[in-house]
């Protein structure tokens, strides 16, 4: 098998044994990356940086100073600011923007010796569930329905990350998750994606969408890889006041395979009306796997689940309208051409109309409305109160002894690009129905590929953990992954 198809764990071991060099591993990924242009996953390639980093990694490996991520070729979501490399957040308003600084996450990964192959496609400002709002055009899933050549979405907003990992253009990728943007694309493409506890990973240098919800995490080919890469991304950062100053355990060491006696909660509210039978069947399969592994399965209730999506679509746009006020055509990015007599207000209005896409404009305006005088209490404050109740639901079941919660990751398999274009925006928002609760409550959640639907497309289950207990969550996910034995790969057409 060519090296670009390897897991991080396999590559790490091969690098340390001297069976391959970081340069050869990187070249293998660069060849796959260049052959994968039809997927539109990589939108800015950085081959020179990659080879420099790979050569430096080889030196460190030779010197015996090789952290687990040393020499591992990664794709980086465009939302991360990378010094001297285009970082557009999938938006035309940041066209040409090359940060003068490096995000904490990419700094930590590079300090650990990781290699950056390039920047990955995403929904504009991470607002979308299908990668169709990107200024770069759609990212395309490597997966297709059996006997069909209809182009499918890799999910969103981390669609480029999901497509690149699933198609073996890189060993793993960074993603970010505000309402499900790591877990939904991971589920759509048959890979693993974890959103850590809010505060586990620094947000510094990650273009902000909704600051109380955003978290970065790894998107990988296995749970073990997620543990290894998350380890390198975590840790306290004085530059992010919400980053937690608590020890980071050894996540890989937690993968013991033993979940006997663990209590897995099954929330009845996640059984939605009109949910496809295949999703219900997949969920039951997952429940049986956890039980077979010696876990106790218990029915639980999270009564405010239904209100998570409307609460999210108040809070996230409200925060976004404030965060995106900075794109004004003054300090960076796009500035509209002005007509004679235009003043500064016209400059703002024209710049933002030209630079932001339709979905981003819509969310900024929704956020502006719910924060405006007279509506702040009715919408924003009410949503924040409902958010407190959603969090309390989780606290209650955890206090009753639940170790992790098992749910579907998405309400369906991947849909076709363009299939939702005529639907009203709410239909697209429903993609996040199983994932947003986790962001609102600040909890860790992981998506694990468990099966294929009747058309041969991947389906995933989500495990939700206690705050700061990614180690136990990864342990449960590892058992689920092992029992599910998901090995399917997209048949290569690109």
């Amino acid at each position: 098998m060519s090296a670009n198809t390897w897991t991080i764990a396999a590559a790490r071991d091969a690098l340390r044994k001297g069976e391959i060099s970081a340069v050869d591993l990187t070249m293998s990924c660069m060849t796959a990356m260049d052959a994968g242009d039809d997927l539109n996953a990589f939108v800015h390639k950085t081959p020179e940086i990659a080879l420099d980093q790979a050569r430096a990694a080889d030196q460190r490996i030779k010197a015996g100073d090789a952290p687990a991520m040393c020499g591992i070729p990664l794709g980086i979501k465009d939302l991360f600011c990378t010094k001297g490399v285009a970082s557009q957040a999938g938006s035309n308003i940041l066209k040409g923007f090359k940060p003068e600084y490096e995000s904490t996450v990419t700094s930590k990964l590079f300090d650990a010796g990781a290699v950056m192959l390039g920047k990955l496609n995403m929904d504009e400002f991470a607002m979308g569930s299908s990668n169709e709002t990107s200024a770069y055009g759609n990212a395309v899933s490597p997966w297709r329905r059996q006997g069909s050549d209809v182009a499918l979405t890799p999910g969103g907003s981390s669609g480029g990350s999901a497509a690149a990992v699933a198609a073996d253009l890189c060993l793993a990728a960074t993603g970010t998750d505000t309402g499900g943007s790591i877990r939904q694309p991971a589920a759509f493409t048959g890979i693993v994606g974890i959103k850590p506890t809010y505060g586990r990973v620094s947000r510094w240098g990650v273009v902000a969408f909704a600051s109380s919800l955003d978290q970065a995490g790894p998107m990988t080919k296995s749970v073990r890889d997620a543990a290894i890469m998350l380890q390198a991304m975590c840790g306290h950062d004085p530059k992010d006041s919400t980053s937690a100053d608590i020890p980071v355990p050894d996540f890989e060491a937690a993968l013991t395979g033993d979940i006997r006696g663990k209590v897995i909660g099954i929330p009845k509210e996640y059984r939605m009306d009109g949910m496809p039978e295949e999703i219900e069947a997949l969920w039951q399969t997952g429940i049986a796997m956890m039980r077979d592994a010696g876990a106790e399965v218990r029915d639980i209730s999270l009564p405010h689940t239904k209100y998570a999506l409307p609460a999210y679509y108040v809070i996230a746009p409200a925060e976004a309208s404030s965060n995106l006020a900075r794109y004004d055509g003054v300090r960076y990015g796009h500035r509209a051409k002005l007509a004679a007599g235009d003043g500064i207000t016209e400059m703002y209005e024209k710049t933002r109309a030209e630079g932001f896409g339709a979905e981003v404009q819509r969310r900024i305006m929704v956020g502006t409305y719910v924060l405006s005088a007279g509506f702040y209490d009715a919408y924003y404050n009410r949503a924040r109160k409902v958010r407190a109740l959603i969090k309390r639901d989780f606290e209650t079941v955890f206090a009753e002894g639940i170790d992790a919660i098992l749910t579907p990751a998405t309400p369906s398999a991947a849909f076709g690009l363009g299939e939702m274009s005529d639907a009203d925006p709410i239909q697209m928002y429903l993609n996040d129905v199983f994932t947003v609760t986790v962001n609102l409550a600040g909890l860790p959640g992981i998506s694990v590929p468990v099966g294929l639907d009747a058309q041969g497309l991947p389906l995933g289950l989500q495990l939700i953990g206690r705050p700061w207990d990614e180690a136990e969550l990864l342990k449960c996910a590892h058992v689920l992954e092992h029992r599910a034995g998901f090995v399917a790969k997209a048949e290569k057409w690109w």
Partner: protein, 95 residues
């Protein structure tokens, strides 16, 4: 709550996004749909519930009030659409 075109115009103005008159009715319709979806929140009894402010119960750290960087004017201005003589340049603000 239904949003009319006047409200849509006002919201666009507050958000500093130019929306052409012809596009306002469609925008108003979409905003109404999204806000209608939010009305579901009115079913919830939130009596006595404090609005959530912090995701995790932790004290935000204060850093020492000292200068940690600076003298990087060229880097600060590097990405500006229009920078002149060490400043960001914008259209005339005051007549």
């Amino acid at each position: 709550m239904a949003i009319d075109t006047d409200t849509a115009r006002k919201v666009a103005k507050l958000a500093r996004i130019r929306v052409e008159e012809a596009d306002l009715p469609k925008l108003a319709g979409q905003l109404s749909g999204i806000l209608g979806f939010m009305e579901e929140l009115n079913e919830v009894d939130v009596t006595g519930v404090e609005p959530m402010t912090s995701v995790t119960p932790m004290r935000l750290k204060l850093r020492a009030d000292v200068v940690t960087d600076g003298n990087i004017q060229p880097q600060v201005l590097k990405n500006a659409p229009d920078a002149r003589e060490g400043f960001f340049a914008v259209p005339k603000v005051v007549e």
